[in-house]
Amino acid sequence: MAPRGADGPPLPGQPAGRAMSTLARWFHRRGWRDLIIATPYAWLILLFLIPFLIVVAMSLATRTPTAPPFGYGGENPVLNFRGYARLFTDTLYIRAFVTSLMNASIATIFCLLLGYPMALGLTRVSKSWRNILLMLVILPFWTSFLLRVYAWMGLMGRNSWFNRMLTDSWNWLVPSDWAITSVPMMNSNFAVILVTVYTYLPFMILPLYASLERLDPQLDEAAMDLGSRPWRVFLDVTLPQSLPGIIAGGMLVFIPAAGELVIPVLVGNPSSPMIGRIISDEFAQARDWPMASTVAVALLVLMVGPTMIYSRYQQKAEGAGSGEEKP
């Protein structure tokens, strides 16, 4: 071992140098990989799991007139399940859940029906058109979301040109004793679904486009070559291969749509609130943080269901072939 100059880097033979180099070697061998793998977990734990546990803890507390307005123990049990009991007994919550899931499901289905042809169209146009159209799909995000909802409120209102146009065409089409003075669009589930579809459509189109764009057009030709007409080709080749895109888009629309607060508050029916409204009201108006947390936990559990089904489906899709693999 040839010793090096005193002002050089620590030599491998010296104790400090040896410790350093062992550490450096460990880091180079495993460190980067571990760090990269750990990042998403750290993210999930810090920004999802810990806040969620806090919410769960809050949902089991008791409402108090203190600040913050909840506490544990006192004359109540330390862990108070009153909120969860109310969830199943008070029809307000049950109806809110049903309304949310219904509205979100219908909006998701319409997003899919509208978004699928659009995404498919995007894959069939020339490259330059594709970029322009993709821009148009995400262009609405460049204006304020609230502004766009207000625009819809204006359109749906009783005295808007839009409403009058629909009213006039209805009156022109049907006998006169069916005539109406305006179309009651505002403050209804219809309005919620309409604005939700409008708002979330890009979240359906983009994952669909991503999965459709990857498909090999030659597969379509192969199916045609083997005797399938274009519609059959779509059902046999395009649709099954775009299933991951459908599921991803569906979840991206369904999950936020079910918990949506702004849209139902602004255009929805006040007498049948959606779940986001309930959570907000419990927190802000009733100052019942435990109950608000309980509803939030219930919503999350409801949303985790579809996610689990999705990952189960994905595992099955991946495992199907290898499971049957026989030597």
Partner: protein, 367 residues
Amino acid sequence: MSGEAEPFIRIENVAKSFGSFQAVKDVNLTVARGEIFSLLGGSGCGKTTLLRMLAGFEDPTAGRIFIDGQDMSGIPPWERPVHMMFQSYAIFPHMSVEKNIAYGLKHERISAADRAARVAEMLDLVQLTPFAKRKPHQISGGQRQRVALARALARQPKLLLLDEPLAALDKKLREHTQFELMSIQARTGVTFIVVTHDQEEAMTLSDRIAVMDRGEVRQVGTPTEIYEYPASRFVAGFIGAISTFPARVIRLTGDLAEVDIPAMDGTFAARATPGLTEGQEITVALRPEKVAIAKTCPDAVNVVEGQVKDLAYFGKDSLYRVTLPGGDLIAVHAVNARRGPDTARPADWDDKVWLSFEPASAIILTD
């Protein structure tokens, strides 16, 4: 077999343009039933485009295609009695091997039992029975190629189009699969049109070959015809190795032509081709294996002196490059029929040698 019988496939003055670019120009071809017919040509010469017109994915800009006497104009791909094996194989990635093969049978009105039997038969034909349940990503490239073949054959097409069927396979597998393809064709009797850019593959597989260049068919013939009697310098150069020399016809006597080859500094006898005139400027082409090399002057009609510039020893044979009196090089192929050390070779580096060739071996090209 009567020569007047309607050919199975007739391609009549077919042309295809993409915008102003002519990918296929005025092609006329006929293919007989049960034939293995190759379209051979370099990349981009329009082979795939011609095949896609047969399959119905492209409409000819001009001309007509008849399959089994039926005009194919306006008939969509799903109604043609033709199946195609794509260059990329185009196997459905979301279906098992078995489902891929069964796909075309969906449209046939046959019972489920018949369908299963047919799939089993196809799996057996391409020796994939143990892999029936696998997904395409779980099998090798060679196996995928066989899935594509089985899928295309399952519906018993009258005509199978194969676009570079072996190009994606490695050399050893390719050679093996060539013979497999031929044996499958013989067993099924289906007419094959094979696209390839590999001349050896075309020679091995085909009953007849059409050599294509920039959208045109330059020559159609059996492998022997194409190799031994090329019609143009392009075909001669495309198939196998060849040395070409500009020459001029001096005199025509019977079926022999006396030609002046400046590169060889002399006049030589060559088998005349029809339509040759005295004084005509021509090209004389010689295949390396048709030229004999010796260290002593042989007793032959056409002899030329030269000096060995290069030699490559391959064991069973050697390739020499010999400098001719005019300075040009000629390739000569000699079989190493006698066993011995280096000194036993017909010639060595820088040796002065005599080359000779038969009049019939000299190919006269006017195009």
